[in-house]
């Protein structure tokens, strides 16, 4: 009898814990994103990206349009958190908010300046598959004068909407690569987050 009580208490406690977890992150438990939704995010982003690139607008204006695309198609808060790693935990809310914004502008400038290579080429979405709780969408870039290469996009609805949270070209993923850059800026400023953010504003 006592055993039974113990068991049911354990069951109750674990159920309560499960509900608590569900309440904190409802989207994680009842994820409804379909494979089509994941593929669509990438296809729509690529379409809009080409509209911006082919518009022939001045570079500075394009960068702010890329920022807008990141806002709508990428999960910038989770990317920024993941890039900052352990240092995210000691950052204040204000620092986190500033970092997300400055990091987004930095990504737009850095990768935006490479989008010139995309002019005259195309990116074709090939397919997708489920990986644990997210999706891997594969596409092939056909650029002028280059052998076609694969771009892999990782898409999750962990934010509540289907968003891109990483991209991988020839094994090189954005998150790991930028974590090194931000880590280097932090080291250069002896761990001072505000000084790192100030440097990131000027980085390209």
């Amino acid at each position: 009898m006592r055993n039974n009580t113990g068991l049911s208490r354990r069951v109750f406690l674990s159920l309560a814990a499960a509900f608590a977890a569900a309440a904190i992150q409802p989207t994680r438990i009842w994820a409804t994103m379909t494979m089509d939704a994941a593929t669509n995010v990438v296809a729509r982003l690529v379409g809009e990206l080409y509209t911006v690139i082919n518009s022939g607008r001045p570079e500075a204006q394009m960068y702010s349009e890329f920022e807008d695309l990141l806002d709508r198609y990428a999960d910038m808060p989770i990317i920024a958190q993941s890039v900052l790693g352990a240092d995210w935990r000691r950052a204040s809310d204000g620092q986190r908010r500033t970092f997300v914004n400055v990091f987004k502008a930095y990504i737009s400038r850095k990768y935006g300046s490479r989008f010139r290579d995309l002019v005259g080429g195309r990116i074709e979405v090939e397919g997708s598959r489920t990986i644990r709780s997210f999706f891997e969408v594969t596409s092939v870039a056909h650029l002028r004068g280059e052998a076609p290469f694969e771009i892999v996009w990782l898409v999750s609805d962990g934010s509540g909407e289907a968003r891109i949270f990483n991209l991988i070209i020839e094994g090189i993923n954005l998150r790991t690569t930028e974590a090194e850059e931000v880590g280097a800026l932090l080291d250069r400023n002896r761990g001072d987050i505000d000084a790192m953010i100030a440097d990131l504003r000027n980085a390209s």
């Binding site: 904190i24 992150q25 994680r28 806002d71 910038m76 808060p77 989770i78 990317i79 920024a80 958190q81 993941s82 995210w88 935990r89 809310d93 204000g94 986190r96 908010r97 997300v100 490479r114 990986i131 644990r132 709780s133 997210f134 891997e136 052998a147 990782l154 999750s156 962990g158 934010s159 509540g160 949270f165 990483n166 991988i168 020839e170 094994g171 090189i172 993923n173 998150r175 790991t176 690569t177 974590a179 090194e180 850059e181 880590g183 280097a184 800026l185 080291d187 250069r188 440097d199 980085a203 390209s204």
Partner: protein, 263 residues
Amino acid sequence: MSPVLRPRLHLALAAVALTALAACGPATLPPAGVVNDPDEQANRAMHDFNVGVDRAIVRPVSLGYGQVVPEPLRIGLRNASSNLDQPLYVVNNVLQLRLQDALQNTFRFLVNSTFGLGGLLDPATDMGIFAADTDFGETMHVWGISEGGYVVLPVLGPSTSRDTVGLLVDTAMNPTRLAFSTPESDYITGLSVTDGLNTRYELGNEIDRVYYDSPDGYRQARILYLQNRRFELRNGGAVDYLDPYAESQEAPYLDPYEDPYAQ
């Protein structure tokens, strides 16, 4: 034992040894962000040296090469240089027991050396026969030898301790080198130096960004090299992606002051 049988026995023994080696399975590849750099200080010094050499010699010379030599000729020389690497790929493919790749590279070499006018043209690629690039570092990976520590080589740049050994073995056993004596072998060396300059020219902006723009070019070159090398060695195999949602201690969206998605 009859003298006729002896070479066959050697061949059989070698095949058994290779099968045993390959049966061990490839080495485990570290995840994307993992870096093993026990000689960082020496490596950083070598990196600085390489950046100096790049600034003073390699970059300006490669820019001159790219501007002076017309593109069709540059592509022709690149093709010729890559064609001469093909036999070495075949040797490594056999050592890896990747016999399909060995056949592909052999066929490619034959097609480009004949119809491709000694490798200047690349009809094999038009036929859909791509080079299955490889090296002895990859062969050792297939045999189960792990990457070792990160190494920066003089002028050549990023490598690992295993791949440095691989480079030496490749240089020593390269059939193309062994087939020629001077002066032809010197022409081959000249061709690979030219190919290096051409690569520096073609990757110009990317290398400039890492060497001259990154807050820590050493770290950036290291992480780019290791990720790309592991990707090559994975050979199309599955990747264990990092999941920031599972890692996240607290959701980054719960901002009491401002919705990060707000415009």
